[in-house]
Every structure is written in structure tokens, then in C-alpha cells.
């Protein structure tokens, strides 16, 4: 125990003297949490639309106005040449083209139906799909208005209209950052912890100071604990800063118990630090440690359910995510902060992460050899 005390004293001294590490724990998370949610927004808005109007009638003008009235669409070009509009798709200036055929208004009255042509840049398939859906909705509304106008004295022709009202639970204003911030916080916590712990032991290896340690009677458990504990404590600092930013910059107040968040984070930090330490014991250079850590992090982040939802993944991928610690903390963060979940809802998460913590740290202790 005494040994551990001295170890921790040394580690903390080194950490506080290293401005880079301090910046990472304090400044970086703050900056990232403020910047990322602003940029990370999947909403489909301000879609550039070009309207090719061969008709130039009152009706087409009305449709034009209706489309541009919303902030779903920005009018990029109003033209009567389709090739003209298409070059805009080619040059990324517009994403959607609506083509109104010649004789649209007249044809609608005379023949009772008309077809409009939508062409979208579908490289981003989801965006295109949603954009098309919005446009269709607007056209349909326009159709209803037009019909009402044309049939202003009719009684028999009652068009069936299904009105859809939407209630959004947990996030009534559909604020995207409410969703992203807890997840990004979880991500930052993970990245910082893995990065710092992965580099730590390797650095001693590269510098040669680890030899001096290996020649002392320090046990492996003491050594690894000495590396684990400081970053574990600092993880809480980062967490607190993150929660403060969430509160004061984004107005996110946890629905659930904050203590639960801290409790889970404690176990989680142990697990990811364990991963970093494990990497650190097998890597030979800092560069290697960094790359291996990055590799894992990248996969964890991609499959963590933050940027794309786990439910959309194919079954085999969903099963794989059970091995991904990031998945659990993102879920817990969201469940507790946004939905006010209690311990019983995250029992499973606790169990898994505790298991990971034990396995990874034990592995790190066993892998570390004082005698080569």
C-alpha cells in the first residue's frame, strides 16, 4: 500500500507537469463538446432545389412559391432548361430538380392528371430519399389546395385527407444536440482515456525508466494500479467538465440520477483504461501504441451507435456491438440523461462493462513482465 502511495505521487506529479495531458483532459473536451454538436447534424434542411418550369403558368408559380416558402428547400435556379439544371447537379450546386412539363396547368384541368418529374442527386441515398419525401409532401399539399380551388363549388368530390400529427417524446423540439451531446461526451471520455493510458507505459519503455522500475520489488499489480488510478480519477474530471458544458452551453439537464452516471462511468473508465494499458504493455513504441489504440477506437466509434444507429445494422453486426464498450456507455448516457432511466434499466450494461474491466485489467497485469 505504501508503495502504491509513492507510485501515485510520482504519477500525479508527472501528469500535472505535462501540459499536453492537462490540455487533453481539460481544454480539449470543452472545445470538442462545443464544436462537434454544432457540426454534427443530420437534419435534412436547406436542400438546394432547381425548378425547370416548361409551363410558366399560374399553377407552376404557385407550386414554386409553396416549395420555397419552407426552409426545407432553397431555390438555386429557376430555368426552363433541364440540361441547364443538371449541370448544377453535376457541380454540386443543387441536389434536387423538379421538372414541370409544358402544359401542366392546362393538362391538369383537361385530362385530370399530370405528372411531375423529380430528379435527385442520390449519392447520399438517405438525404435524397428524405428530400424526395419532403418534396412529395409539399406537392401533395399543393395538389389538395389546387383541387379545393378548382372545385370551390363542388360537394361530391371529397378528397380523403389523412392528417398526420406527430408527438416527439423526450426531445419535443427535436433538438439534435440533445441527442449528440451525451454521446459525444461518452466518446471523448473513451478516446482520452484509451489514448493516455495506451501511451503511458510505452513511454516509460521508450525512455528506459521502466527498467529502473523492473529492478525494484514493485509488484505487477502495484505498477498497473499506479498507472490506472490517476487516469481514472482524471476521467471523472473530464466527465464533470462535460456535464457542466452540457448544462450551461446546451441546457441539457439530466433527467435521471447523476450519481448513476458517475457510478457507471467509474466502471466504464476502468474498462477502457484497462484496454489502453493492455495495448501499452504489448506495443514497443509510442507510435505503435497510438496506432493500435486508434484502430480499436475507430472501430468502436463507428459501430458505437452514435453516428449511425445500431438498430439499422445487419444482425451479425449488431451482435458484434455487444463486444463494443462504447456502445454501452453511449446507451447509458442517453438512457439516464435523456430518459431518466434507473439502475434496473442499465443492469445489463453494468454487468458487461464490469466483466470487461476485470478481464482487460487482469490481462494487462499478466502481460506486463518485469523480467524479459
Amino acid at each position: 500500500m505504501r508503495t502504491l502511495f509513492f507510485l501515485l505521487q510520482k504519477e500525479f506529479r508527472q501528469i500535472f507537469r505535462d501540459r499536453i495531458i492537462l490540455a487533453m483532459i481539460l481544454i480539449l473536451p470543452t472545445m470538442q463538446l462545443i464544436l462537434l454538436p454544432l457540426a454534427a447534424n443530420y437534419e435534412v434542411r436547406h436542400i438546394g432545389v432547381s425548378i425547370v418550369d416548361h409551363d410558366r403558368s399560374v399553377a407552376s408559380q404557385q407550386l414554386l412559391r409553396k416549395i420555397t416558402a419552407t426552409d426545407y428547400f432553397n431555390l438555386v435556379r429557376y430555368t426552363n432548361s433541364y440540361p441547364d439544371a443538371f449541370t448544377l447537379i453535376e457541380s454540386n450546386q443543387t441536389d434536387v430538380i423538379l421538372e414541370i412539363p409544358e402544359g401542366f396547368e392546362r393538362g391538369l384541368v383537361r385530362e385530370n392528371e399530370q405528372t411531375l418529374f423529380i430528379s435527385t442527386n442520390a449519392i447520399n441515398g438517405v438525404k435524397a430519399n428524405i428530400g424526395a419525401a419532403y418534396l412529395n409532401r409539399i406537392i401533395m399539399d399543393f395538389n389538395a389546395d389546387l383541387r379545393t380551388e378548382l372545385l370551390s363549388d363542388a360537394k361530391g368530390h371529397v378528397q380523403p385527407l389523412i392528417d398526420v400529427r406527430t408527438i416527439d417524446k423526450f426531445n419535443p423540439h427535436l433538438l439534435y444536440h440533445v441527442f449528440m451531446v451525451p454521446g459525444i461526451l461518452a466518446l471523448l471520455l473513451t478516446m482520452i482515456s484509451v489514448y493516455l493510458s495506451a501511451l503511458n507505459i510505452v513511454k516509460e519503455k521508450e525512455l528506459g525508466t521502466i527498467e529502473q522500475i523492473n529492478v525494484t520489488p514493485i509488484t505487477r499489480l502495484q505498477f498497473i494500479s499506479g498507472k490506472l488510478i490517476p487516469f481514472w480519477l482524471l476521467g471523472f474530471v473530464t466527465l464533470t467538465i462535460g456535464l457542466l458544458v452540457a448544462r450551461f452551453v446546451y441546457g441539457i439537464v439530466p433527467e435521471g440520477n447523476i450519481a448513476l452516471i458517475y457510478l457507471f462511468s467509474g466502471v466504464y473508465l476502468t474498462a477502457v483504461l484497462g484496454l489502453g494499458l493492455l495495448i501499452s504493455t504489448v506495443a514497443e513504441t509510442q507510435q505503435q501504441a497510438m496506432f493500435v489504440a486508434f484502430f480499436f477506437m475507430m472501430i468502436f466509434i463507428m459501430m458505437g451507435g452514435l453516428f449511425t444507429s445500431i438498430e439499422s445494422m445487419p444482425q451479425w453486426a449488431q451482435w458484434l456491438t455487444y463486444l463494443n464498450p462504447v456502445r454501452y456507455i453511449i446507451e447509458v448516457m442517453r438512457l439516464v440523461i435523456l430518459k431518466g432511466a434507473g439502475f434496473s434499466e442499465i443492469r445489463f450494461h453494468f454487468l458487461v462493462i464490469t466483466g470487461m474491466a476485470i478481464i482487460l485489467n487482469s490481462w494487462a497485469v499478466l502481460k506486463y513482465r518485469k523480467m524479459a
Binding site: 507510485l7 505521487q9 525512455l207 529492478v215 525494484t216 523480467m371 524479459a372
Partner: protein
Amino acid sequence: MNTVPIISVRNLTKAFGSFTAVDAISFDVAPGEIFGFLGANGAGKTTAMKMLCGLLSPTSGEARVAGFDLATQTEDVKRRIGYMSQKFSLYEDLTVEENIRFYGGIYGLTLAEIRRKTAELAADLGLVEEMQKLVRSLPLGWKQKIAFSVALLHDPAIVFLDEPTGGVDPVTRRQFWDLIYAAAHRGVTLFVTTHYMDEAEYCHRVSIMVDGAIKALDTPHALRKRFGASSMDDVFTLLARGAQRSAD
């Protein structure tokens, strides 16, 4: 040897695949001796020393160090020895005092003892003003002396020094050997590797390693006589003429 040897090595071998770095060496070191472990770069000195410190596992052979069996009681051995590596390995981003505090604590010294030792070290090395400075800011000669003193903090029975005077000026080298003598005087056994042949003269006994094996072991005086050489340098040249390996 009249007394029980403090280091006793029998057929200690280290092979890395097909390359035998240390080839079945055997020797004894008496308590209080300054034992010089000489050889060219690549002869296997550092490898042998690392085995004796418990840093490297032997491929075969036995050793007893400071009263414990090296293979089965490694951690006990570590409690009784001190080590100064070839590459400077104290913490550059800590002060002198902080390094002492850390290592003193690790070895089980009480805070009072640590304080006392720190003051002693500062006085002995004449570094009273430097104690609060980061080690990184000190010149190499001072660093080496501090490393040596740290190795002695816990009053070990043996101190292993790997090329302790590498890269320092002759005056500092001289001062360093003064420190070594002072320690020997107190009863510490010193196991020193070096490729400076003149330093061999300072040792009680010397062994010369060539290509992983001990080619000669005796007092400097006896070796010079045996080989009809006027200096240890010449002794070494004679022995090393047939050497195959030249770099560590």
C-alpha cells in the same frame, strides 16, 4: 574464496534463438569487492548483468545473488540490490528530490529516512541547490552521480553499474570512482561493467568477456603479469584479438 560469495554464478547462459549472447559463464564475487566486468561492446556484459538483476530470464544455468536464488527468489533479490543502467533512467520530468522520494518510498524507507538520505546525498554530491531542479536540466555528469546515489538509497548489498561513466569527462569519471570507493568502504559490493580498460585498475578483481564467454578472471595485477602486458588495455587487446562480435 574465504567468505561466502555474495554473487555465485554457475554456467549462466542466455541465448536469443540461435545467437548465444552469454555462454555458460561461471564466477564468484566476494562481499565488499569492486568487481569489474570488462569486455568490448557486444561481448555480452550488459546481458549478463541484466540476468543477475532479474531483468532478463536466463536460458540455463544458476545464480545466487545477495543470498537468494536468482530463478526462484527473484523479487527477494531485487530488494537487496541496486541498479544503474547504461541509459539514464531516472525521471527527467521530476526533480532530484522527487526522484529520491519515489525510489526511497518504493524500497520501503520511512519518510524520515528519506529526508535524511536526501540531505546526505545533497551534501555528498555538492548539489544542495539543485535538489529542486528538474533532472532534465542537469548536466550528464551530475545525472550519473545522482543515479548512482539513488541506486544506493536502500542500502543494498550489491549495486550493479552498467557503464556508469559512459560519456562523461575525465574529471567526473574520477569523482565517480571516488563515490564507488566510498561505497565499497561501507561494505557494499559493486559490480561494474565498463569498456574503459583503465578503469579495470580500480577494481579488486576483473573478468574479461569475449564473445559471451569469460576469457580471464583475476586481479588486474595478476592478469598483467600473466599476459606480460604493461596495462589492462594490452591484456584486453591480446585476449580480444580473436573476438568475432563487435557491437552490442
